[in-house]
Every structure is written in C-alpha cells, then in structure tokens.
Symmetry: C2
Amino acid sequence: MKKQIILLILCLIPLSAQSLQWQEVMPGVWKTIYGKPDTYNLLSAADIKPNRTAIEKMAKTGLSLAMDKIRAETVNGQVYLRFPLERNEQIFGLGLNFQTVHQRGKILNLRMDHYGGRDNGRSHAPVPFYVSSRGYGVLINTAEYITVYVGTGVRKDSEIPPEARDRNTDRNWTSRPYSDVVEALVPADGVEVLLFAGPTPLDAVRRYNLYCGGGCLPPRWGLGFTQRVHRLYTADQVIEEAEEFEKRGFPLDFIGLEPGWQSRSYPCTFEWDKGRFPDPAGFVKTMLDRGVRINLWTNPYISPEASIYPAIEPYTGSHTVWNGVVPDLNHPRAREILAAQMKKDQVDIGVSGYKIDEVDGYDYWLWPDVAVFPSGVSAVQMRQTYGVLTMKMAEQLYRQRNQRTFGLTRASNAGGAGLPFVIYNDYYSHQDFITALVNSSFCGVLWTPEARTSRTGEEWMRRFQSVIFSPMAMINAWSSGTKPWSFPEVTEQVKYFANLRMQLMPYFYTEFAKYHFEGTPPFRAMALEPGFRIDNRTELASQSLDDNPYLEAVNRECKDQYMAGEYLLVAPMFTGETSRKVLLPQGKWYDFYTGAFVGESREITVTPGWDRIPVFVKDGALIPMMEARLHAPAKNEKINIELRHYGEKPGRYLLYDDDGETFDYEKGVFSWREITVSKNRKGQWEGAISKAEKDKPDNVGKVTFKMMTQ
Amino acid sequence: MKKQIILLILCLIPLSAQSLQWQEVMPGVWKTIYGKPDTYNLLSAADIKPNRTAIEKMAKTGLSLAMDKIRAETVNGQVYLRFPLERNEQIFGLGLNFQTVHQRGKILNLRMDHYGGRDNGRSHAPVPFYVSSRGYGVLINTAEYITVYVGTGVRKDSEIPPEARDRNTDRNWTSRPYSDVVEALVPADGVEVLLFAGPTPLDAVRRYNLYCGGGCLPPRWGLGFTQRVHRLYTADQVIEEAEEFEKRGFPLDFIGLEPGWQSRSYPCTFEWDKGRFPDPAGFVKTMLDRGVRINLWTNPYISPEASIYPAIEPYTGSHTVWNGVVPDLNHPRAREILAAQMKKDQVDIGVSGYKIDEVDGYDYWLWPDVAVFPSGVSAVQMRQTYGVLTMKMAEQLYRQRNQRTFGLTRASNAGGAGLPFVIYNDYYSHQDFITALVNSSFCGVLWTPEARTSRTGEEWMRRFQSVIFSPMAMINAWSSGTKPWSFPEVTEQVKYFANLRMQLMPYFYTEFAKYHFEGTPPFRAMALEPGFRIDNRTELASQSLDDNPYLEAVNRECKDQYMAGEYLLVAPMFTGETSRKVLLPQGKWYDFYTGAFVGESREITVTPGWDRIPVFVKDGALIPMMEARLHAPAKNEKINIELRHYGEKPGRYLLYDDDGETFDYEKGVFSWREITVSKNRKGQWEGAISKAEKDKPDNVGKVTFKMMTQ
C-alpha cells in the first residue's frame, strides 16, 4: 500500500514545464532536481564523496552556459530536457566512444553494453556527462537508459533555426540540418542534473572528476608491466612464466590469471581449482617473493557448485547468467557473502586485485530488462551500475586492509573515476583503441589499448608502443599465449619500450596524483589541451545530390593522438604506416627521443622510422625518469631520478611522492617536490629540487638533470 | 486536471501479477487485455476491419500454446509478458529482418528504423508478431518500443532449466544457454495481446492476416513492370523513356517519378515543378494513353514554401524534419489538408499512386522521441505507425474514387497487410534482399528486392531475375539511371524475364487474391510450406574454448529460397555462383522451364546455367500464363490463358478473376474458375475449365493446356 501512496503523490505533480531552480552546491558546480527522480542514481550507486577542498581551490568562475535557457518538462510520462547550443560549439563525451570524438550531430542511446562497432551510445561506460568546447560540463545523473540528441532535433520554435533547402537542385542541402539544442529523454518521473563550470573544457572535466571524489591513484606497481597468462595455466606454469620474464630481462609487476584459477567458470565458484592450484597461498607468496603480484579474473555470476551458492541465492536476481545466479550488489547481504569469500580465499593470501569480466551487459549475456532484484533496484538501473557496484565491492576489500589495488573492469559509469580499475574489452581495432583512450578523458574512466596478439611483428610492436603510453601496460594472452618476445624481429624494440614504461613511472605516477588531487585525466584528448585548435570543418562525403543519402558528411576530428600527462603528446603509428600527420597545439614542441625541435602550433608530418612511436614534448617540460628495472620500487624505496628538460623555456615541475601502496595519502601523507630548470647568469641551464618536507614521504634518491634540447 | 484524475486511477491498480482472461473473439483468435493499455495501438492506427467470414471458414482448431502458462505482470511500471517455449520449437517473424529467419535466441528491440545492417529489431516493419513452428501466432498489439527476448533469458524458476557447465574444460559449454521462454517488456500501463491458432504455421499467419482484414489485392497493372526514372527527369524525358521501352519491346506498366516532380523536395511542397512539368495533367494523360501509369515519390514533411504550409502548420509536431513540418496524421485536419492537395494536384489528374519515402524513422531523419503532436499521440507511437498512417491516407484517396492503387513505402507495421504498398529501402545486398522477402511473409508486409544498378551484367541479370519473382517488379533508377537494357551482354536474358513476369500475371494475380481472401502471403518462407523440414542443428562457430567468445553458434536456416505462390519454389542465384543447394519440401518437384523431374523431399544441388534463375514446380501444379505483352490487360479485357501442368499428379487450380481495377471485388464482383487436369481412360492428360458464373467477371479468352512433364 505504501508504494501506491507514493505513486499517488507523484501523479499529482503537474505535467507542464517547471522552471528549474539551480543551486550552486560547490564553487562552479550547480545542481537542479526536476520532478521526483529515482532515489537510486549513478552517483548514489558509486557512493561518491566530492572533494570539496580541491574544488574550492579552483579559480572562481561563472558558467558559460545560459542556465535560464535549460528547460525540463514532462512528455508522455518521461522527462524531456533541453540545453542550448551555440553555433560552432563542439560537444565531447557521452561515454566511451571508439570511433568519434565530436558528438554534436549524434543520437546516443546511453546503455551499458559491449562495444558493438558503432558509436551509438552502447558502450562499456555510457556516462551521461558531456563537455562543451565552450568550457562547461553537464551530467544527467540517472541510472535509466537515456537517449541524448546532441544537436540533431530541430524544434519549430528554435532560436537559431536552420534554413529549408531544396534537395532537387541546391548543393548546400544537407541531410542533417543545423540544430541549436541538446535534447535528452529520461524515462523517469524526475531527474537530477549537475552543471560544471570551466573556464576551459579541461577545468569542467576536472570539476566533474573532483565532484566524483577525484580520480584513482593506483599503487606504484600498478603502473609497471602486466602479463595475463593462458586461461588454463597451472601454478607451476605461472611461476615459470615469471622466471622467463626475469631471465629475458623484461619488467613484470603483476600477472593476471584467467578463468582457470577457479574450479568452475562461467558461472564462477570464486574458489581455487585444486588441480591447477593445489596451494594457492604458497603460490601467491612465491610470486610475491619474486616481486610479482597476482591479479584474478572473475565474473560475478555464481555457480550452483560454489560453496557460497546456498547462502547468496536469496539475494540474487530473478534471472541467471550462464546459469549462475546474479548477486544483487545493492543488497548488503549479497555484498557481504561474496566479499567474505573473496577476502578469505584470495585477498587475505595476498592477491593484489581483480579483473571483473562480463559486467558490461552485452544483451545476450546478462539478465533481461524484465528481471527483478531483491533490493528493488530495477534491471536497467542494475545494468547501468553493475560494473561500478562490483568495483566498489572489490575496492572496499582492499581499503579495509589499507592496501591499494589496481585492476580491470568491463564496465564503469558516472562516479567511477575514483575506482582503481581500467576498462578493457574484446574489440581489437588498434585505431579505435586509441580513440577510446582519447574519449576516456571526457568521462572519468581509464582505458587500456591492450595487446593480445598480432599477425606480424610490426603490428605487435605498434600495439605494444601504444600500450606503453596508456593507463595499464598489459599483454592479455588469455587465449593467444603471446609473450612480449613472441615476435623475434621486434623483441629488442618491445623490450626498449617495456623498459621505457618503467623509466616513466615517476612521471606517470605524478600524473595519476594530479588525477586524484586535481581531477586532471592522465591520458586525454587534444581537445582538453589548452592552445589546441582544430579547424572543425565538415567534409561532405560527396558533392553529388544523386548519391545515396546515407553517405553523410564526416566531421574532421582529432582522434588518433593524445596527451599522456601534462607534457607528452603521443601520436601512435598503425601497421603499414611509415609517416603520419600530427596536430601540434600552441607553443614549440620537441622530439621525445632526441630533444630536437619539431614544430609549433601547426600540422606536421612525421616519419619516425620503423621502430619508434612519435612522442613530442612541450617547451619547458621536465620529465622525471628513473632507471629501467624489472619491478616497481618497494614501499618507500629510494629511487634515483633523472629530470629531462626539453626546449627553450625554463621548466618547473612538481614531483609527487608517497609510500606507493597504502591509502595514507588520503590523510595527507604525501609530498610534492618542486623541481626547476632555468638558465643561470652564464646562460647555462641549471636544475634544482626543493628539500623534502619534514615528516613527509621522501623516496627521491640521487637527482640528475639532462638537457635534451641542444 | 482531467489527465491527473486518470493517472490517479491508474496508480491504484495493484502492481502484482494479474491472471489473464482470454476471450475467443473469432474462431481461433484469442484476446486478452492486461492492465490499462494505451488507447492508441498498432491495430487502431491501421483501423483494421477483421475478415470474420473468412476466419470462420477456416477449420476449427484449438491453440497449440498453453494459454495458462502465459504470464503478465507489472515490473518497474512496465508490462512484463512471458510466453512458454518448448524444446526444439522455432520462432519466426518479429519484423522485417534481413539476415536471419529463425528468431529464437535473439533479443529484438522493435523500433521503426532504416535497416542498419543487423537484425536487432530496428527495421522498416518492426511488427510485434511471431509465428511458432508449433503452429500458433502471437501479436503484442502496442505502438510502444518493445524489447522481445526470444528464448534468451533464463529465470531461476524456469520449468526446463539449462544446465550450468564449466567453461574451463567442458566443450559443451555454450555462451547462450537454453531458455524456455519468450519475454517481452512493454513500457506502458497495460497491453493487448492476441493469439492466433494454426494448426500449421501458415494457418496462424493466415488467421493473423485475415484478422487484419486480409492482404491487399493490387490492381492488375500493379503486377506488371515498373521503372523509376532519374530524379530530375522532365516530362519530355519521361515520355521519351516510355517510348524507348516500347521501341525495344520491354514491358512497362508504370513509371515512378522521383523528387524532381515537386517544386521543392526534402522538405516537400506536394506541388508540381512548373519547369520540369509545365502541364502535369497533359503529361499524365499522354502517359495513360500509352498505357503507362505514373507513380509519385514523396515524403510527408512539408516545406515552408508549400501552399498548404500555413493551413497545416497548426496540426504538425513540435519538431521539423529537414526543416519541414511533420503533419500529425492522427489528426483529421492534418489528413484533410494534405489529402486535399494530393487529390487536387495529382490523384484527380490520373496519378496512379505514391512512393512514400523517409517514414521509416532513421533516427537522424525524424522527429526525436521527445517531440509532441497536437492529437496527443506520443512521438514514439507516431514513429511506429507513421508509415501505416501515410499509406492509409493515400489509399483512402483512391478508395473514394473506387480505384485501386499500388505503391511503395519505407515503413509498415502490424495491421498493414491490407494496404497496397511494397516496402523498399536503401540497403543493397542481394542475398539479404531475398532473406527479407522470406521474412516479409511472417509479418503481413510486402517487400521488393529492387534492382538499382550493378557492377556487372551478371549481377544485373541475377538481381533482375529475383525482382521478377517478387511483389513488385521494379528498377529503381532514381540515381543511377539504369535501364533494363543497360548491360548489353544480358539484355536478351533480362527481356526474357521481363516478359516472363507479364506471362505470370494471371498466376500472381490469383496468388494475391488468396492473400486478400485467405490471408496467404503470396511470397513466403519455406518454413510456411507444408512438408518442409530443415534440420535445425546449431553449428558451433568454433570448437575451441580459447576463441573469442563473441564468435557464437550459428543457426542453420533456410533463408535463400522461397515460395512464389502456391506452386513455385524460387532459389535465386547470386553473382559469382554457378551452382547452389536447394531444399525441396515433401513430394516431387519439377524444373519450371523444362518440366523435368529434379528431386523429392531432399537437398539437391542445381547448376542452372549462367542465365536461368532456378525455379521449381510442385507435383500436379497448374500455372496459368498469358502471352507476353507490354502492358497489363485493360479493365475487363479478355485474355487467352495457357495452363502449364507439371509432374505426375492430376491438377486442380482455381483461377481468380475480377475487373482488375476497382474495389467491386469487395462487394462480391469476382469469380474463381476451376481448372482441372487429369488423365483420361486412355492415359492421356486432359484439361478442363469450369464455365464462368452468371453475372460474374469473365475475362478468360481462349484456354490451352501444356503438359510440361513428359
């Protein structure tokens, strides 16, 4: 009866448009609530803790979006939102897209799904957040499936209406007329919307990430190298593989075990297979003693043969997945039972983290939208947030031990920025993997362009090079069994880049600290780089009005290069290419390997040679590097740092440091060391590093400077 | 306030499951209403008039589906339906799919859309009707977007649950476990469901079609040949083209004019272009005098420059399409204004019909789901039914004149079987066009595998041959300008088949009469053919558990051959093929061209030669053929008929006849002439035809018999 009374009240809300009341909940963050939103939403599922302090530190600014022009009304029982667009405004984000960066002109049905080869809104992170080139961000905080019309619909009452043209003879006719509005349909009785100020697009993203609690800070070892072994490897085979890495001098920080570690998979028991792993604790210890951590694959569907099955069954959904029950992870009992099993059997014996598979909801491998769950969360809401719920549960297990983890997931969503997991999938286009890396920066997620196997050594090396400049440097050989050295003709090159990954660890670790403390995505789109401009002309697919109308205009967009941290511009090469174009933002840019000047604020063509991935460095940059080594530094181990300076400008760099493993940084146990390079009176470059602060971590050993540009 | 009261009442309906009450509304047709359905639905939009008389003539039968096992409940404010499935049961239908025939194991989001290259429910006819191999049909009569899980979801309380298997080592593990249920999610407060008895799958389809009023009966000329000319042709060029057909001896019954006939297109004025067509009435008359009718392309989006724009604007939706307003065709005023313009300018001067483009709702070329319409029909409901509404409006114009029409549409839906329009689209896979022809028979629509252009003469001939054995024999040259004789190396063959189409007119006309009077689809799937069996084994895409899990099992299905009427089995050849396999149903089958025996109840391999499309004839069949001619017979023109007999069995055939042009057949002005062929006492074949009934149409001239099988 209670339910009916609530519904009855809902029905009395008038159906016509409501004027929206915006409240500035934090500096530069405004919130409105229209109608009666679901109580369960993306941010509540992620249980975010906004980093108010960091947001308050950002420059005070207004919103470059006319709040009074944002409309909400109820149409056919659903919420219809609209946001104005200006001419030439570009929209980025709306989830982890793989083929396009500019979203204006698209219709996206944001739905958690395996990526199906088209940017239509179905993705591993269907985040309802977008960033405008005009420097603001919009989050529609709902766990429903929503459709977003990003400048496609044209209302009769449009303020900037397009002109009707005659397709018979007017060559300027277009199949996609101009639209001045972003429209969204939310199938709910209400919705919460959040606006994030800039002034730059990067600032809007930062504000959004900080509102979600800031980005994750992986343990230092998480930024080393990781190999995932064949799915049926035994303990001995895994140990052998680690030995092989060491013998061949390839770095290795963690190994991922695939389904075979479990006694049953698809659905899973969450128990070790006694045949392949007779002594799990001994095995994990052996590996840890070698400096190699263990990550475990799993999916959350529980086998009838699992020991926890009888206990958890009452807290599972109405439908099975691969005949396994689906824990209602919004129900505390389901979480407790599953987490206890993971803790006892895996986390407590030293397992470092998880790879959470199959939570992206490829339609056929998930509960249908008609399913019900004991906690009352709908099948759709559960689908949109299941990745976040699983990550959250796993992260909590480690947090209780004051131990950081770093793992993999197939699904994230709004609010997930702080969860230390990298998204991966089964798709395998190298080009599209890079575009996903670009787009990950617009929606608070991390993405790995993992290498699995290749047809040629050249492809293997090209993929490997991209992986090195990504959040997780990984070979995923669950099926292929490929090793870094599987293609002898490029083994030396692959080793060079594996070592480079280790050398760059201080740089990437600092960039991740900025993700956490400042909200700045460590790998990001050029569109978020100050001083980057692209002539966003639309290129007609054809000038002939006779052509098939479905050949439509193509937006020129920058989707094959990205920033790796504040100073490095990475422009991957793809198999078969010998040269490529690179768009340089404002200022002078230098070759990463040689320090030579390459260009300034323009498009250049580079021919890097067959075994180099083009990487360019900003003028005045300082890149902190450590020596190449097989494993990440141990907790509080002192490390020698070489600071590489590029270009003509003096450099200033803040190097982040903490113990590398615990959550003590959340309590202030971290340090930023200031490093400067400038010319002395004699015109010679001189470098300096600030003293370590008292009672702060100090893991910096010897510091040397190298002037790369002569 | 009224709206609120209604909603308030809705809210008081209990949310738990209701027991369903089934009412047998006609023999073998049951209906239930769950909850409070939308008042606007697919059948109400189509304004169907069930043919109760014809349904009552069908054999009395029960339903081979356990009605008591059908469940409905409200889940998260939406209707959750489930229907039981038995082992080995196969499901067909659920819209105009292009690549698959068997739908069990699929998830379909039924949504009106341009076909996007995947059978996911988005199609030009997303009809929520399915047929079971067990001989029953189910219609979910709603104009909402619904998702149907066709034997994919597995409930914990499943009656025939699948077995959990270990993917680590069990080679019988499958990524798609067995499911014993069809589930559907209807986002509405209620829904109407109809069940159709068999006993055969074809009978279930027939009952469904008859419930919708029976299939359309085109005018006789509609079954002739039609050419669509280049979009910017002038009146003189069109006349010249018709002359060229005549000169070269190619049949031609109607010519289609593309956008250039209108003064503005995309959006449209619905007015003739005075430059290209200075004297429309004179032009149409000239063409009619040559025996060639005119069909006009249009889309329903009204240009601001149209003379009817000011009048119709108040009755249009909130959003524009190509900057044209969208008539609310559920509003009588919108219909009246638009229809009056079409009548005055086009129908009254002799135009024979329309090609209604762009009503299939390719997302980008339509109003968004947030749009509103004056009549109160939602954007979604309008999208699902807009094709039907436009066809209905056009058909009414002709019905008022007691004149039949035959045209083209890009969109239909449940209830549209009686509307004389054939679906076409922009896709162009010859193979998939045939699969669409197969699938059209499961959902009460017609489909043309139109020929547009080809890379080679071989391809042109192969496409042309398929078109001949389809509901509309058409070349669509709006862009290519291709003529039947454009590939000289196959012109003779193309002409042979164009003539064959004319010769088969009495046969196809009779088959269409069966569509109208008996509900039998004129072009149909082998699965609807009595005595057809296919071993529905599932072929694993790979036997290796290491493979990418997305390579899934493939259903073996019969999707490249079909029945053209009761007696002809058509097995198209595709470019590059020299032979193909054909699955023959029970009984003996004969070659259409030679009368030779080819096989019996089994798979055969045929090598038809480079210029024949394999066509096979049922034992005992009589195929009525007329002489090849350039145009269809005029109203009540007497025609000589040759009856071709095939095989060993005696033959009996009912030849349909009426005036070929008016709706008088609806008032009983038609005849069925009985034709028999049997052996006399001397063992010689003898043919006979019944006398024409008194006061019934009699257009049969001389009758001859030809025994094809020696």
